[in-house]
Structures are given as C-alpha cells and as structure tokens.
Symmetry: C2
Subunit: 127 residues, 2 copies
C-alpha cells in the first residue's frame, strides 16, 4: 500500500506519516526497490495503533519510547507494560476531568435554555 492510500485510509497527511517515521514512531516502513514507501500489513497496523493513541493525546515522546522497546523484543515487556499502565492511568484521569467539564457544560446549556424560554414567555405576555 502506498503512502497516498494509507493517508486516505487513516485521514493522516502524507507529511505526518513521513514525520512519524522520521522521529521513530513507526519504524522504517518497507520500500520498493527504488526507495518509495510501500506499507506492509505490519506497517499499517502500526499506523493504526499510533493514530488511535494520538487520538487520545498520548505524547509522541512516550510512543517513540514504547515503539523502541517493542523493537528490542521480549526482554522489554515489563517496561512496556509499565508505560502503558501509566498512560492508561493518566487517560482515566483526563477523562474524569472531561466528564466534570461535560457536566458543567450541560448544566450551563440548560440554564441558557430556560433563560431563552423565559424571554419567549415575556414576549407572549407583552403581545
């Protein structure tokens, strides 16, 4: 699969895909003889993983570290697990914050809605 297709499939620009590779987020993608990227199944699974993690704002640095450990094989499993656990905990914390914000937003929207209703009533009475 060439870069253009991967870009469309995941909604990630080709520039970003190349950038991810450059910084080590996706270890060197397979190439054709002449050096053009030709994403393998594995490469695509990696892109998907990164897209998903970035979608939840896991920092690129952490993902780079994680990917490097994956490359190093089974000896790093314990460390990798720790990284994922920490990221998961932070994610849970962020989601809790967001839930609080969501509640406040919903509350404010409700207040606005009833204010708008009041205004409409007043107009009706004045008519």
């Amino acid at each position: 699969m060439k870069i253009q297709e991967v870009s469309e499939k995941f909604g990630i620009s080709t520039d970003t895909l190349r950038y991810y590779e450059r910084v080590g987020l996706i270890p060197s993608v397979t190439r054709t003889g002449s050096g053009i990227r030709d994403y393998s199944e594995l490469d695509i699974r990696r892109v998907e993983f990164v897209k998903c993690m970035r979608g939840a704002s896991l920092p690129i640095e952490v993902l780079i570290e994680y990917m490097a450990l994956v490359q190093q094989g089974d000896a790093t499993i314990e460390t990798r697990k720790e990284i994922l656990r920490e990221q998961r905990d932070q994610l849970i914390a962020r989601m809790a914050e967001m839930q609080k914000t969501l509640d406040i937003l919903n509350h404010k929207i409700q207040v606005y809605e009833s204010k708008i209703l009041e205004k409409e009533k007043k107009i009706k009475i004045e008519e």
Copy 2:
C-alpha cells in the same frame, strides 16, 4: 486575593494568569490603587471556569469569544448557548475516542500480564 494566592489555589502559574487576562480570557481583573491585581470573587469564579474548560482542552480562542459575549449581556445568550452546545458535542466525541483507546490499552496491558505470567511459569518448570 492576590495573584500568588490564586496561582496556588488553582495550580496555574502567575504568568499564565496574566496571559489569560491579556488575551481576554478573563476580563480585566480588579486592581489595588497602585495597579496590583486583587482578584474579586467574580474574577476567581472566572478563573475557575477557565481552568475547568481548559482542563478539557476547549480551545482558548473559543473561550475568548464566549467571554466576550458574556460581557455583552443578555442579547448574546442564544449565540453563547450554541457555542457551548458545539463544544459539548466535540467533547463527547473526544471522550468516545479516548474510551476506545482506553479499551485497547487495557487489552494490551492484559496481554502483557499474561505473557509475564507465562514467563514465570517457564522459569518454575526449569527449576
């Protein structure tokens, strides 16, 4: 309440508090005669609101727009409600993405955990 105390109360640096004021996120804080910030109850409620919204990553630009509308009074209620509704919807979408990521993280952690267990078993058998 002076800036230092507000900073500690909310865990926002004084630089950030001044920055928020500068860009219009918190309309001009009350001052002492000599020009030193002295946050009123209202100012503090505003800081709290902004902190909460920023905690859920609502963009500063949107908050600036919202705050400007609040300043303009009741005529802008409808617009404000729309802004909040849109932000709420985006927040819900982001939380859904994060939930997916969380599920994957949990799954991966489980897989790692069972791999570690297997390794331990092997060691026991070899003993």
